[in-house]
Symmetry: C2
Subunit: 106 residues, 2 copies
């Protein structure tokens, strides 16, 4: 049996109006709709933690989405899923920048 | 009972010699030493996944370290732990840039 090496998908969102709690809440509500996509094995929606401020720590984003998939096919299924596309349609006006990191366990 | 809201610590490493597999392996070996720090509840060491290339996807880093802690105190304990400091001493010559994102679940 192969050891499962999950694909981890991390998206950081920088909002156009980062001080608007309503916009933060709208984005979080939008992200929660993604949970129904079957290939997402685990999902964490987060905001910056109040860890120690250090030069290397970037806490300038507003919202973080962290997802675990079993494999690349699962991530691709999510990427193309109508629920994901609907999320982008309804929420993309909120953000000015998105950065994505996709990892596979070594 | 309070719902546990984990603190997630994500570190991306850009190496001075990203094409050196030996340096990548050295960094991964160093990261594996961190696993013994008790407050790390879960840890994923990863490399860029071969997901679809898109403008928003940053796959320029070499190695990713993703850790889960139960709380901020656990993350602070890790940050100050001698094993973590020894890792920095022995591996920091390998990297030219580090970016850290610390999240707490909403």
């Amino acid at each position: 049996m192969q050891t499962l090496k999950p694909v981890i998908h991390h998206v950081l969102f920088w909002l156009k109006n980062p001080k608007s709690q309503a916009d933060v809440d709208r984005l979080i509500a939008g992200l929660k709709t993604l949970e129904k996509i079957e290939t997402i094995k685990k999902m964490h929606i987060g905001i910056p933690a109040s860890t120690e401020k250090r030069d290397v720590v970037d806490n300038s984003y507003s919202v973080s989405e962290l997802m675990f998939f079993d494999d690349l096919a699962g991530q691709k299924y999510y990427q193309d899923h109508p629920v994901h596309k609907e999320f982008i349609n309804s929420c993309s006006h909120l953000w000015e920048k998105v950065v994505v990191y996709d990892m596979i366990d070594v």
